[in-house]
Symmetry: C2
DNA sequence: CGGTCAAATATACAAACGTATAATTCAATG
DNA sequence: CATTGAATTATACGTTTGTATATTTGACCG
């Protein structure tokens, strides 16, 4: 009987790497880290398991790459369509974008939980993590500062810091609840609560500015 | 050469179970779920690995028991010293207790992340999770309702729901940030931001009532 | 259109995992 | 103080893991 070796087509390494990263994130989110084995990843990607060590130096290397790809996508999601004539409108849109799918998503929450232990131990992943986290926080603080200034409100840097932390917290908390209990909220409800909460924290009205 | 079998003392099954649970939580929080093997647990507890299947029907059974023990401790932490003459004071103390160690703790955050995937798959753990989560949320909503009523404020059940979600979110978010970056906040800062944020969300002053 | 080389597959291997079983030892009981 | 039984240790077993190696194959090039 002749070999039953399966047929395959050659692809560019970049494409194969992307496929393996996507398969890794899918498994990590749906099945969990324990089930994310090299064999499961290869099967999910429709490849043989040898491909992992052919395109990445180790499984850990692949996990790192997957984490980086995921975090980049998350930040991009929050930055999406942050525009508007006024600082107030830009802040409102930033809050809305941060609380809209796919940023708020059971999958994103699953991935966050799956990666956090690796982040704590691996310096490379830790660096990626802190970089993205602080970028988000600074972005929010700048938007809050601009919004306060625009309304003629003055705030010390200490007050500004506390306000940014509180706004960040309410967004994080809603992100967490929305991801953990996706069916517990109506469409658009989390975004609305987020905008109203940030408005209450700042003591300013904060409608989106583009809705009618 | 005679046997080098190690000496041991008999303990009550309950005590051994508690030791194994404590070792499991320590490992889960510090080393992560991947390193929490039956051998590592037994070594952490100072016992032989056979003890796990002698006192629990499987490793999974032990994990379940450890999760239950952890969650019970967390809820107890938030309920601690929730007292006061006024609803406002009780709410302030509830917020404070929810944002104080050991509720806010890198260890608690680690454990939450470690368990979330198991919670999603195992019905028994899911039941434990939802029970404790909803108990917390209902407790908070009741305190918010009482505080509003005390101040002569009226709120529809829909408004109340949204306020409770927002308060819960800011507490969750601060819990998350405090656990993730414990060195980024001064002592008592998270609690203070939490009380001020809940006050701003409700539009009511919310001092602790017992501090001087 | 045959030659070449990386891309792929297939297989093998040592280590570690959860579990099962056998062999001991402590402490209570009469 | 001998007996007994559960608590405990020690060892073994089959499976799965990440990794290493050998073999095959598809596509590009002269």
């Amino acid at each position: 009987m002749p070999s039953q070796r399966r047929k395959f087509t050659r692809e560019e390494p970049e494409s194969r790497r992307a496929d393996l990263i996507a398969a890794t994130l899918d498994l990590m989110a749906d099945a969990g880290p324990a089930e994310t084995t090299v064999r499961a990843i290869a099967e999910e990607a429709g490849l043989s398991q040898g491909m992992i060590r052919h395109h990445f130096s180790s499984k850990e290397d692949l996990i790192n790459a997957a984490y980086q790809a995921h975090m980049a996508g998350q930040l991009e999601g929050s930055e999406r369509s942050v525009a508007g004539d006024t600082a107030r409108a830009r802040l409102a849109r930033f809050v809305t974008a941060s609380l809209t799918s796919p940023v708020v998503d059971p999958r994103a929450l699953s991935l966050w939980a799956a990666f956090i232990h690796m982040v704590r131990r691996d310096p490379a992943m830790r660096a990626t993590h802190e970089e993205n986290y602080l970028a988000y926080r600074d972005r929010l603080e700048a938007l809050v500062a601009a919004t306060l200034a625009e309304s003629g409100r003055t705030a010390t840097s200490e007050e500004l810091r506390r306000l940014a932390i509180a706004c960040n917290a309410v967004i994080d908390g809603l992100w967490l609840e929305g991801g953990a209990l996706p069916d517990a909220f109506a469409a658009g409800e989390i975004e609305a609560i987020g905008r109203a909460s940030v408005a209450a924290l700042l003591g300013l009205p904060l409608d989106d500015g583009t809705e009618e």
